[in-house]
Symmetry: C2
Subunit: 572 residues, 2 copies
């Protein structure tokens, strides 16, 4: 590509509304432009990266035996009614009517469409397993789109869906997809981790997210210091450590007027938050339909946080989590900020205690009286509980659930997700095939997604410096830039640049020849912000000396080296 | 690809609602499936063809210097309000509201978005000309989607837009796009014609459509029998032939009670429709705003058809064409079916006569009296007119407008369209750049579209037989099929097939190895309906004799030939 025929749309200033570095740099480097809230146009520089990312994903999906399909962006609402998601899915599902007043949605995902396709096309167990993927535009009507293409409303996704006779076959394809994803993110040049993930409302039995590690990530990932264990914090088990010591203190009631938070009470009492419990009163599940939901009391150690996803899995706790109302608390004679476990079971409440809180002794808790706390509280002696349960988020230093090492927490950006769907959609849509015995059975499904546009942003979050983007070689918009000095005055440098350009093109490199009538400083900063891995400057002096001025994108200084040495650098 | 791992979704029966051959064959060959009216999912066999078509288009657009971008499918209505099309565009423009109640459209085309992008990114004449393309999903809410992907609601389009300092620059890029389109359709292996087209409501000054010739086409294309001339019939000029002879007959009034059509009157009078004129009374353009529009009388030869697009270009005729109301006719004392040109100019009407009608003499016309016609009518002597104008569609046998040969009419499928937009959008959206003199000027635009999904269907309309599709080699889903006979019983044929498969893959061929446990007849018909160009059958006898059974898709018979001869066939 000749730069004079390309669109450099570099911005000197960082746009106001760009919060994260990838959004700032994609705008400044001229990769994307905002069309409307959460809608971006990709400029030529951005499309080059996007195409390379897509090509790698397609190659690896093909190699893994997934067959490419293409399903419409617009989908009839009737399929979403069949699966139940037309109602369940929130306002992120954009619903509209066509000119004949029929209901449609803009596809945020394609489970319904592919399951409909499969129930019509797959007839026999002999056709299983089957695995289909597409690279297609998706739309999610985010309430607050942000971070550029990281959380936009319209985006490009690679989504794949597999169909199986049984769980064993699903597990095999799932493992193959896991490997394919590892190959994809490795080839993309990203520092990533597959992490165990929650299966959430989509249901199903197994799930891994693929995270690009970056400090700006929205997700907390728990790692083991000593093993391969990695899980979304939502998902990481907090295992029980230690045993409860015997009581040493007497229970005392202390006046803690105006001390409501754990931090305030601990400071006031001169204790550590670790030696207290905090109460969360939530809605339980009604014993019978029509009855009022009971209140359930949860107790965690003072320095721990409730993990709502774990709590929601408890059969006695209502999902999604909803806290008790003031009326419910008043009816129980309890005041927020001063609730302790003492006497609650006797009042008929279900009391669920987190594992870490369950091994405390001589701890601080609310006194179930306004402006009062209790010290020296001990389970069994002073407070009964119904059950011990894993209710909290893991924190750094916790033992790793696999028994090897301790937990470290890093932030990650979710770029991929693989998921054992089970029969959620095949059951709802009646996707059955004939078995060996001639009888129809419901197929088992998996799904596998990669946010193609998001991969581009996450690669930047992980690879940048104060000069701009530092692209991994495989997805850089150009691999090499050639800059002739004073090209418009010095035919000699331009001729040498042209000769090298032709030579590198012929050798298969993706080269840009910066033949623009611009100052070298402008060219250098355009190339740097766009993260071009190799820069070769050609000047009069160098030509006299038989050298080119070479600089790798992350090199501190340029070096004057021979063409052979330059070619060796490129070949690395 | 191994057929056992691919999805053959061949149908034995032709689906009821598929009217045209491409729709029938795409369903039967398992390339597409209907999701809802005008919405199709592409199955693996179809996607392979689509990808090959897209790759050729992208290569040639890149080669012609167009830069790839990607714009959103969803577009803010505000841009369409700026261009005026939010109101002008009919119900094919799907309008919807997002969760914040903002107006959006699903893009049927991207002029507004690209012009918005250009007005922000292009600052100086130095950046011109600029040319951007994308391959993106479009949506048009067709009132009656039909013919499968030929006229669907959602489809894939390659659309390009160019920006220029002046008409000369636009013409240069337009000519380059014309050449690129010729290369694209040639590489796709299609029998196509670029034809002069009307610029329609989109405005602008030059336009060519690219048509794939096929009897099922929806457009009539006028060709010269002796030159390169080709134009949409809408557009082809009907040139004046011959001179008017002197009157020989007296004007007579004849009773033609109940004879209203030209055919009826001609039969009743024993004359030829060619020797009569027919009248069309249409709305004219009011002389001043607020005044009633006058009626304009158009006269054509009895056997000719009005070309509304030509008529609409006449400055005195209202566009779009609207016929005179009964009230207007009554006020003029005229009865439909019996109108002649005699005395109309005297009544104050504008009378416009088609060229062919203007050279008639002694002709039949309405008598401007109910149930009466006049014979022996002659212009000047009996009937004045205001003007002679080209008002009709050309018909076969007309002289070609370029003076070479006569007109032939064939049907075509429009697969591409290039268009000199001029300043329609740049003016409306204020897309200006700074000129050499430092003053801003409005840029001039062109646009260039190819219906990617439609190209696939049109290739089938042009290339099929009773066994199915006959793909042009460049876009066949697979180039070669290898079929081992009795593969599941004869390890020897399977081994030979596997060896040949590996050899052809290594040589760069796109090969499918039909390793399915199916009868040969099933395999052969699956491969034939899918139009695979080369089929190589490997059997025990052939292996003994050192031959393969080769059959080209259009060969009447297979031949037993050596591997070297097979390789020579493939290399052709």
């Amino acid at each position: 590509m000749r730069a004079s025929r390309f669109l450099f749309a570099t911005l000197r200033e960082t746009p106001n509304d760009a919060e994260v570095i990838s959004h700032q740099l994609m705008l400044r480097a001229g990769m994307i432009r905002k069309l409307a809230s959460g809608l971006y146009s990709w400029l030529p520089m951005g499309v080059r990266v996007l195409n390379k990312v897509e090509a790698i994903i397609r190659e690896e999906m093909d190699r893994a035996g997934s067959l490419q399909v293409l399903m419409p962006v617009t989908q009839p609402a009737s399929l979403w009614q069949e699966s139940g998601r037309f109602v369940q899915y929130g306002p992120e599902l954009l619903r509209f009517k066509d000119r004949h007043n029929n209901d449609f949605v803009l596809g945020p995902t394609h489970e319904e469409v592919i399951t409909d396709l499969a129930r019509n096309e797959l007839k026999s167990y002999k056709q299983l397993p089957a695995n289909f993927y597409q690279v297609q535009t998706k739309f999610r009507d985010e309430v607050r789109p942000r971070f550029g293409v990281m959380r936009s409303r319209e985006f490009v996704m690679k989504d794949a869906y597999s169909f199986h006779a049984d769980q064993e076959s699903l597990q095999k394809t799932y493992d193959e997809m896991y490997e394919a994803y590892c190959r994809i993110f490795t080839r993309l040049g990203l520092d990533f981790r597959p992490v165990q993930a929650d299966t959430g409302s989509i249901g199903g039995s197994g799930s891994h997210e693929f995270h690009v590690l970056a400090s700006s990530g929205e997700d907390d990932i728990a790692f083991s210091t000593e093993s391969d264990y990695a899980a979304n914090v939502e998902m990481a088990e907090a295992i029980l450590v230690g045993e409860r010591a015997a009581p040493e203190q007497e229970l005392k009631i202390v006046d803690t007027h105006n001390q409501k938070t754990i931090a305030d009470v601990s400071a006031f009492l001169g204790t550590d938050a670790k030696d207290s419990v905090k109460a969360l009163l939530v809605q339980g599940v009604a014993a019978k339909e029509g009855e009022d939901a009971p209140v359930v009391a949860l107790f965690l150690r003072g320095d721990h946080e409730l993990n709502e996803i774990k709590a929601e899995k408890h059969p006695l706790i209502a999902a999604p989590i909803a806290f008790a109302t003031e009326e419910q608390m008043a009816a129980l004679g309890l005041t927020a900020g001063f609730i302790g476990p003492q006497g609650l079971v006797e009042k008929g409440l279900t009391v669920i205690v987190d594992r870490a809180a369950s091994v405390l002794s001589d701890f601080v808790a609310g006194a179930n009286e306004a402006d009062k706390h209790a010290t020296g509280v001990n389970w069994e002696r002073d407070a009964k509980f119904t059950e011990v349960y894993d209710l909290r988020n893991v924190v750094e230093g916790d033992p790793s659930p696999d028994g090897k090492g301790t937990i470290l927490i890093k932030r990650g950006i979710e770029v991929g997700h693989i998921f054992q769907l089970g029969q959620k959609y095949s059951e709802a849509l009646g996707c059955k095939v004939l078995g060996k015995d001639g009888k129809p059975f419901t197929v088992t499904m998996g799904c596998y997604g990669i946010g193609v546009t998001r991969v581009v942003a996450s690669a930047i979050e992980q690879n940048f410096d104060d000069k701009g983007i530092i692209w991994p070689a495989a997805i850089a918009p150009f691999q090499v830039a050639i800059v002739p000095m004073n090209a418009h005055k010095s035919p000699r440098t331009m001729e040498a640049a042209e000769a090298l350009y032709q030579e590198l093109l012929a050798a298969g490199y993706d080269v840009i020849l910066d033949d623009r009538d611009e100052r070298p400083g402008v060219k250098f900063s355009d190339l740097e912000i766009n993260g071009i891995p190799h820069r070769i400057v050609i000047g009069e002096k160098g030509l006299d000396a038989g050298t080119f001025e070479y600089k790798g994108r992350t090199d501190a200084e340029s070096v004057n080296i021979s063409k052979e040495e330059v070619l060796a650098k490129l070949a690395q």
